[in-house]
């Protein structure tokens, strides 16, 4: 049995979230509808019940959304500037991505939990896509255009600190709406945290 709450009010949403469905049931509800900044992409939970995403087509934004549907626009970019990868959380509580300004170069930018917290860092010589954070606190990225540069980005300057040239097989044409989607598969092994069967830990 599937339960849908297409136009749920805040109260209904909270009820839906708090009632565990019977096994086999699924309860669906809309947390929030997008308006000015549409086509949301990516979702990471930065603190319990607070998710970070990006959205927009002609003009793009980074935003947060609570599980109850409250949206906060954290940063906006003028028309023509394109956010190139999904947000990735850093070790300092901020969220990072790449924005390609009207023309090259691209810049790393970050946002914090509060509106107006955008920081844009120095221009880069190529257009990378961030794919994930790493144990040492740096962020991993790939260049979706040259297909050969594997960048590692580091605090505090968020510039390339090292990179490797590898010979990826050339990707086929892709219809993905954001360039990062074309390249994540090449770093798929690193996208997700290692298995809990990793030898360093045991769960209790």
């Amino acid at each position: 049995m599937i339960i849908s709450l297409r136009a749920c009010s805040l109260g209904l949403c909270m009820i839906a979230a708090n009632i565990p469905p019977v096994w086999g049931q699924a309860t669906f509800w809309v947390v929030t509808s997008m308006n000015r900044y549409g086509q949301p992409a990516g979702l990471i939970e930065g603190s319990p019940g607070v998710f970070y995403s990006q959205a927009g087509s002609s003009t793009e934004a980074a935003l947060s959304v609570t599980a109850q549907g409250s949206k906060v626009i954290l940063a906006t970019f003028p028309s023509g500037d394109n956010i190139q990868s999904l947000l990735v959380s850093g070790p300092n509580g901020r969220f990072y991505s790449i924005v390609e300004l009207s023309d090259n170069p691209a810049n790393v930018f970050s946002v914090g939990p509060a509106a107006g917290s955008k920081q844009v860092y120095a221009p880069q010589s190529f257009v990378p896509s961030l794919t994930q954070n790493l144990p040492d606190g740096t962020l991993l990225g790939v260049d979706s255009r040259s297909r050969q540069i594997f960048g590692i980005w580091s605090n505090p300057t968020w510039m390339v600190t090292s990179h490797q040239s590898v010979s990826f097989p050339p990707p086929t044409a892709l219809r993905a709406p954001r360039s990062m989607r074309a390249m994540v598969i090449t770093t798929g092994l690193l996208r997700r945290a290692p298995t809990p069967k990793a030898p360093a830990t045991s769960s209790g």
Partner: protein, 235 residues
């Protein structure tokens, strides 16, 4: 690919497998295997989900039927060990996007049909156990939506794979890296850390408390706990 850049080809897909469609990120699941989806492949050309071992053994798990609701665009592993995903659907042909569950043995269950929204949907399991996602279209204005899907999953268990530094005196701030670490508390060989702060679900910072002794670090969240095999050395 290793951190030093050594590239190994695990499996070679036929030419044009990914042509003109979405590429779904690979997922490494709790069983150590890789799982992926190809939106336009399979016997029906409507998508498949496959398993790939780290040794390169490829196994198709599920072939989507020849209808207008297929085309997988996202895949995550839920806290129950099953795979959860979304399909794009052929909206122009009257199809719909779907949210589904797939067991690792290939049993498919339709969970929800998005009648007025369109994936490509990015899914994530929240710390409350609920699956959240983004839809590119739909919602009240047609500009997309963020949705939730409660299928009764437990809160995800924490995983702590790395900590740094691995030694230090009392008051050392230790960075722990893993996943599902929100709302964590930390113990150094059984002694609660004096301060603990989260930076997203992948990082926890914990300060070595007075009275701590050399031993493993235990991270506890509402989803469970995990203890490192490696010890933190108190100097």
């Amino acid at each position: 690919m290793t951190p030093s850049g050594s590239f190994t080809q695990l499996y070679s897909f036929p030419s044009h497998t990914f042509l003109n469609y979405f590429v779904v990120p690979l997922l490494q699941a709790s069983d150590g295997n890789l799982y992926g989806a190809i939106a336009s492949a399979g016997a029906n050309g409507t998508g498949i989900i496959y398993k790939l071992t780290l040794g390169g053994q490829y196994t198709p798990l599920y072939t989507f039927p020849k209808d207008n609701n297929s085309g997988p665009t996202w895949l995550i592993e839920g806290s129950d060990g099953n795979l959860y995903g979304a399909t794009y659907g052929n909206l122009t042909a009257g199809g719909h996007s779907e949210l589904f569950r797939l067991t690792k043995s290939g049993q498919y269950t339709l969970l929800h049909t998005l009648t007025d929204a369109a994936c490509q949907c990015d899914l994530v399991q929240g710390s409350d156990g609920i699956i959240y996602g983004t839809a590119q279209g739909g919602g009240a204005t047609g500009a997309g939506e963020i949705f939730a899907l409660n299928v009764g999953l437990s809160k995800p268990a924490p995983h702590a794979q790395y900590f740094y530094p691995q030694s230090g005196p009392v008051s050392t701030q230790v960075r722990i890296w893993g996943s599902n670490l929100l709302s964590a508390s930390v113990q150094f060989n059984g002694v609660p850390a004096t301060t603990v702060s989260n930076s997203g679900s992948n990082y926890v910072w914990a300060t070595v408390p007075v009275g701590a002794t050399t031993g493993p670090i235990t991270v506890t969240t509402p989803g469970g706990n995990i203890t490192t095999h490696l010890s933190f050395t108190v100097e």
